[in-house]
Symmetry: C2
Subunit: 337 residues, 2 copies
DNA sequence: CTGTTAGCGCATTCAC
DNA sequence: GTGAATGCGCTAACAG
């Protein structure tokens, strides 16, 4: 209980602490006989090195921080899983910072990377401002961005403009012209760039098809099924309702489906719905959506960080992950009224 | 970049390191004038204390470990969120250990609590064996169990036997007698007690109603929607199919719903389905289920750990969280053939 | 009130 | 090969 230290082991084995340290770290400069003595001393004392002391001495923490917004969202969980998977296979521990408020966001950005608390850092979906990036960079800890981007750092990106374009385009190709978009607040304190990008993709597809943008078809609200349902209800009971709705996420698409069900409007006969992410439940719901490589982005991000920590001082690497249109049962040509 | 140390600050401010340490730790034994000097020195040097050195000196790590199986499962994520919430409000960091293999389970149980790596530990859903408990106890780190139990530790439990009993009973009250149960493997290497408990609750309700247990109505499989779907398909295409199915989780219930849909059997007219957990999507799916306090269990677990770490050496506390039957649209009386 | 000093537990020179 | 000494950065106890 009074956990043994390296000194105890040294005494027990009748050697110096240096020697013990050497066998712990697999130094080859130890004779087999003494190594054996030390090993058995370690065993009888049930000794484990104190990680803190080790880290202090080494100047490394063997932990990497992951900063993630709303980690309970299905899409985020998938990314996290990817990161966790590569980290679990390494010697690094993962410390999780969940941010659900701007205050917490600021706090994490300012403090986590400092205090030699971590050897590396992964930031998911939260785009650093230039000022934040500058500060982050100064701390010297390797950072990789997943699902977001900044010139100063490594990043695994998803082309959300293209993804949203593709979604909208799918609707247009089906014959729709009255296409609404339900998303989060484009201007948001978290600096979620994805919201802006997907909105842009939507606008772009519209423009390209010469479909005038209608402000009353662009609804913004907090990210939740409930809120999306409310917004969908609003636009669907409009005097001139849309025949298709593209949502920022599958979660929101489900809210739209719910609103439609409540209103008795049939999907996809009377209303087409397309989401974004392709979360697991989407398949069961026959939801047409844009698939992005959620899990893969986490995997890649973790991998990239590990590499960056090893090499150091390279110029930032950027990877772009593809999106894919998954056509299922919630989209169809508009009603031929 | 060459991060300033407490010594630099002391020199800059023209004081001793002890004084700097005092102002950092808000000791009141510092005059306002010197405190001010130190503070400004800290500011100009952009100094942040090295957390590692601090921890080594203090003998505390200010981090707590959370060991969680399959953290991507919706129910688990909810619990995790509860824990994260109380930890974020404290000064403790959360380090996450996800276990998806028995090997990893063993590794976590054996090593995480040692090496003064953490000040406390929360184990979710994984029941320690007596041997493991013994070992864990010896490390001296406070531990609380969430959604599982052991006499040696604090725990936040859910009465799964009662929950499963309630679910089965609901079906029986509706008039069903041909009730199947789809769950995980009762004998599993992770030592998930919940599987056993829910199975017991099912058996108990059956017995109490004098409904003989049928082995062919008890299906076991890996925990996933897909597998549950497969099992449901199997039992539903049986020569004498059940009229109701109780599943270990909502996720599996969705698989059952999917199988029913594929087979063209109507829910709830021809088949009743009841799940367990009441995950978010359950409401949208009109799934009848047993609600357990997922988020709350995390909250309580985190809180309990914080308290235990402060008080120390109390006898283990046990809390039991309630379950609740949520009747929605997937259960009804059996068909009156 | 404040400067000085002795560890915290381990890794790493440097001599032997 | 191996033991002893030095330092990682900080806190706490001890003088003053």
């Amino acid at each position: 209980m009074a956990t043994a230290t390296i000194k105890d082991v040294a005494k027990e084995a009748g050697v110096g602490v240096g020697t013990v340290s050497r066998v712990i770290n697999n130094s080859d400069a130890v004779s087999d006989s003494t190594r054996h003595k030390v090993l058995s001393a370690i065993a009888t004392l049930d000794y484990t090195p104190n990680a803190n002391a080790r880290r202090l001495s080494l100047g490394k923490t063997m932990t990497i921080a992951v900063i993630v917004p709303f980690f309970t969202r299905p899409s985020v969980v998938e990314r996290l899983r990817g990161i966790e998977k590569v980290l679990a296979a390494s010697d690094y521990d993962l410390i999780l910072y969940n941010v659900e408020t701007v205050h917490r966001r600021r706090d994490c950005f300012q403090n986590v990377s400092r205090r030699e608390r971590v050897d590396g850092m992964i930031i998911i979906s939260l785009m650093p401002t230039d000022a934040e990036a500058e500060r982050l960079k100064q701390t010297g800890v390797p950072i990789v961005l997943v699902d977001t981007h900044h010139a100063e750092f490594d990043s695994i990106m998803i082309d959300d403009v293209a993804g949203a374009y593709r979604a909208t385009r799918h609707l247009i190709d089906l014959g729709h012209t009255k296409i609404a978009h339900i998303g989060d607040f484009v201007d948001n304190p978290f600096n979620f760039q994805q919201i802006h990008d997907r909105y842009q993709g939507y606008r772009q597809a519209l423009k390209e098809a010469n479909i005038p943008f209608r402000a009353d078809y662009h609804l913004e609200g907090e990210h939740s099924r409930r809120e999306a349902q409310r917004l969908a209800y609003e636009v669907l009971t409009n005097h001139d309702p849309p025949t298709a709705i593209f949502t920022f996420s599958d979660t929101q698409a489900i809210g739209v489906l719910e609103a439609a069900r409540g209103l008795g409007v049939h999907v996809p006969e009377q209303l087409s719905v397309i989401g974004y992410d392709d979360i697991e439940i989407a398949e069961y719901l026959h939801l047409t959506t844009i698939r992005q490589s959620l899990f893969q982005s986490g995997l890649d991000g973790g991998q990239l960080l590990l590499e960056t920590m090893a090499i150091r001082d390279q110029k930032p690497q950027e990877y772009l992950l593809p999106t894919e249109l998954i056509v299922r049962g919630t989209t169809a040509p508009p009603p031929t009224t």
